[in-house]
């Protein structure tokens, strides 16, 4: 259950960023999780619900965008989508086992949507 530690890292980043911005509330956090990683989005959601109560991120929605695996064949240069289990080049004349992942290994915090304190319009319009 390494998702708990991973979610803790997400929460720490998010709390730091929202504090720096002077946010009053965190509404939404967006992550990208690559389909080739050993990280389970449902487990991240579960960990988020466990870790956020009592923090400024309580009630914030965790949106997880999953990316598909995509590699480039190192022999014929073809780019191809693939699942977790088979990265062999699908071009029949090639079929090389030597490929390099270009998408699917992401584990990234993309952005955070927050509320800022109401600002006084008169001091704003300087």
């Amino acid at each position: 259950m390494h998702e708990m530690g991973i979610t803790q890292e997400v929460l720490t980043s998010v709390l730091e960023a929202s504090q720096r911005a002077g946010a009053t509330r965190i509404n939404r956090v967006r992550l990208t999780v690559g389909g080739l990683t050993d990280v389970v989005p449902d487990s991240l959601q579960f960990a988020w619900e466990c870790l956020t109560p009592g923090t400024p991120a309580e009630g914030a929605v965790l949106e997880i965008r999953e990316t598909a695996g995509r590699s480039v064949c190192l022999e014929c240069g073809t780019e191809f989508d693939h699942d977790k289990f088979d990265r062999r080049c699908p071009v029949p004349e090639c079929g090389s086992f030597m490929s390099s992942v270009i998408q699917g290994n992401e584990l990234r915090v993309d952005d955070v949507d927050v509320d800022l304190p109401e600002t006084d319009a008169s001091t704003d319009a300087t």
Binding site: H2, I6, E9, D38, F85, R108, D113
Partner: protein, 220 residues
């Protein structure tokens, strides 16, 4: 308001891993991270490897376990410096644990640090420790289908060790299927058939490791 972060989730671990890597390079030490299931033969393989390389390389071991000092004591009994990390329940090692373990080792007097990760084929995958190479050991009794169940770890291994081949006649292990499924995940990693118990094939694996350590010395 939207705050753009675009930050790796494990940025903190990655920064610490880079620090470990730089520190190891400065001292001319190569770090090997060993991953496998519980019972695949990690400690036995490490001891067999040390047996072949200890006259050529100055070696220490970092043992990662949830609890107990059993593995570090086994290694120390062979006269090899060993540091035990107890993760206290955590299912994998992280870079900060390695950093503290390195504090306890005489790095300037070493060539190779072997890190035995917690027995687990899933959780350690995403956590860079600052290692120079990462290997996965699979043992014959575990079955030939493991690359299909734990693809992440086989995809990123720099070498794959198939251990306990001396017991192959007792199990229905389809080696052709195993090699094929590893290849589909990882075309670059060599696969070494071996038995840490009998010593069969350990020489080929140890020679690969020795070459990697030598390359790292040239590079720095």
């Amino acid at each position: 308001m939207e705050i753009d972060l675009s930050r790796p989730i494990l940025a903190r671990n990655e920064a610490l891993a880079d620090k470990n890597r730089a520190r190891l390079a400065t001292s001319g030490v190569f770090a090997l991270d060993v991953l496998a299931s519980p019972g695949a033969g990690k400690t036995t393989t490490i001891l067999a490897t040390i047996g072949l390389l200890r006259e050529k390389l100055r070696i220490a071991v970092i043992e990662g376990d949830i609890a107990s000092k059993v593995d570090a004591e086994k290694v120390k009994a062979h006269g090899i410096p060993a540091v035990q990390i107890n993760t206290g329940g955590a299912c994998h090692l992280e870079a900060d644990m390695i950093s503290r373990a390195l504090d306890a080792l005489p790095l300037d007097d070493l060539d190779l640090v072997i890190v035995e990760n917690v027995g687990n084929l899933v959780c350690p995958t995403e956590f860079d420790l600052g290692q120079g190479a990462r290997i996965v050991i699979l043992s014959v009794p575990e079955g030939d289908d493991k690359p299909l169940k734990y693809p992440g770890i086989f995809a990123q291994a720099d070498a794959v060790l198939l251990n306990k081949v001396d017991a192959a006649s007792f199990f229905d292990f389809d080696e052709t299927a195993f090699v094929d499924s590893v290849r589909r995940l990882n075309g670059a990693a060599p696969i070494f058939r071996m038995s840490a118990k009998t010593g069969e094939g350990v020489g080929e694996w140890a020679a690969w490791l020795e070459a990697r350590v030598a390359e790292s010395h040239v590079a720095h």
